[in-house]
Amino acid sequence: MKIAIASGKGGTGKTTVSVNLYSTFARFFDNNITLIDCDVEEPNDALFFKNRKLILEKEVQQIIPEINTEACTFCHKCADWCEFNAITIIKSVAFAEINKELCHSCGACLVACEYNAITEHPHPLGVISHFDTGIGNGLIEGRLEISSSMQTMLIKEVKKEISENNSITIIDAPPGTSCPVVETVSDANYIILVTEPTPFGLHDLKITVDLLRDIKKPFGVIVNKAGLGANEVYKFLDENNIELLGKIPFTKAYAKNYASGTILENVPKEIEDTYREIAEKLLTKQLQQ
């Protein structure tokens, strides 16, 4: 079973829920579990495993085309085919160039060119790391190269690392509702939306619910930082028949533990119980599938 953890708004607690569920499943239910950090712009899951060991690290490349101006006739066909405005051709000065930041590596220009003037070259996209976390099968993290705007492409590469032999995979998604989120959740069997009981949290929850209904994915909600803010979120869940999987109370002490990266050490009893209940609900869903 693949469970993705998402939220429209950032900072609602995706990472907190991801690492806690991973640890809860591994300790009490099923140790054949892997955690995947797909928030490639800002991956944080590893910070919560103090004794992690890096076991594998690989650089991922994006293939970017280059124009050889010796062979180029400046016919402009490649630029006409490029839907991303990444190619500039100026015939009068024999200039032909592809902008790396705008290129989506779709391959259209290579097919367009009739003079073999375009070749492909690797360009850094990010790094994928595998960590031993002491429990479970470990953590796989994607980390986007600074200045790259191709986060979705890296997420696709990270997902290829998921082994089919895991009984459970927890996937920590990036914030938002646009293409990187869809890519992350697209082959999850179930999605947990993490929200906070504030108007910002609720507004962004609603747009994420619209997205998941659009792509027809089953989901439930965890309300994090419960007790802070207002109660409209519960009314919304009720009126829209959305399952409330659990509530994690806000306490300053817990927030302080999060701050220092120690939420997996000395988990308060009530929080541990909440995650155990959520894990049980998720396992029941798996049996029903």
């Binding site: 490639v40 509702t177 293409c179 869809v182 697209s186 108007p199 962004d204 997205l211 302080k256």
Partner: protein, 289 residues
């Protein structure tokens, strides 16, 4: 005129609450919500929409099953793995995986593929009690959020020039990917909101690395600084070492959450609170820099 972009790397650090507070103290400013994925500033600004625009985020391929011979040439060419056989073995494009490069359309020998424009994104120019707000609403799962950010910033700048505004304030997106890059390019300064957590600091460092590639001045505010003073010290040391000036420290306070629940800025909700006074001082420092 000076354009300032508010960013944080990590989501939920307090970008929107800071942007709202600044709106209460800045005079003669235009505001722009660059977090087009999960825009929230309008929840405080209560905008009255004056102008509405469609944003064209590109095209999506659609296969006509009556013409398609299932030859598979499009599948071979697609770099995004977006074309798959459906339940009755007819090839189909997954709209969420399609990047709109139109290569499949161009290579199809039967002319069975058509690209349709996608108008699921909108943006607005609105009147608010703080001045003009330019903001957007993206359709769920959409592409090209960076391009949309560029478009609304262009409009904000145009308006600021027309009315002779002194400032443009951009409420930025989380992360360091395409929309963050689009909100930094060409801005005059970045105001970074950091929460004193290991994740907050980790994410801020990656953001600074990105901003440094643009050579733009950065100022920092630590939000909820009293949540974990040890990490706050680490954040301060990091800022010192990198010569980033810390221009304000905001304590954790329920009033901040309550102000959002009441759809007000902290300055409107609790004008005499010490946090409100801190924002006046933060704004003076930004203004005079």
């Amino acid at each position: 005129m000076k354009e300032i972009t508010i960013l944080s790397g990590k989501g939920g650090a307090g970008k929107t609450s800071v942007a709202a507070a600044i709106a209460s103290v800045a005079k003669n400013a235009v505001f722009c919500d660059n977090d087009v994925d999960a825009a929230d500033l309008h929840l405080i600004f209560n905008p009255e929409i004056k102008e509405r625009y469609d944003f064209d985020s590109g095209t999506l391929a659609v296969i006509d099953p009556d013409v398609c011979t299932n030859c598979g040439i499009c599948v071979e060419h697609c770099h995004f793995d977006a074309i798959h056989p459906n339940a009755i073995e007819q090839l189909e494009v997954n709209p969420f995986q399609c990047e709109g490069c139109r290569l499949c359309e161009r290579v199809c020998p039967e002319g069975a593929i058509e690209s349709v424009y996608n108008n699921n994104n909108h943006w607005f120019v609105s009147n608010t009690r703080f001045g003009t707000l330019v903001h957007a609403k993206m359709g769920p799962g959409e592409e090209n959020s960076g391009k949309l950010v560029t478009e609304i910033r262009k409009k904000a700048k145009e308006i600021a020039n027309q009315i002779n505004a002194d400032f443009i304030i951009n409420d930025g997106p989380p992360g360091i990917g395409c929309s963050a890059i689009a909100s930094i390019t060409g801005t005059d300064a970045v105001l970074m909101v950091i929460e004193p957590t290991l994740s907050g600091l980790h994410d801020a460092k990656r953001l600074v690395e990105l901003i440094n590639t643009f050579n733009i001045p950065v100022f920092a505010v630590i939000n909820k600084f009293d949540l974990n003073r040890e990490i706050t010290e680490k954040v301060k040391n990091y800022l010192d070492e990198n010569s980033i000036s810390l221009i304000g420290k905001i304590p954790f306070a329920n009033e901040m959450v309550e102000s959002v629940v009441n759809e007000k800025t902290i300055i409107e909700y609790a004008p005499d609170n010490k946090i409100s006074k801190e924002f006046y001082s933060i704004w003076e420092k930004i203004k005079n820099n």
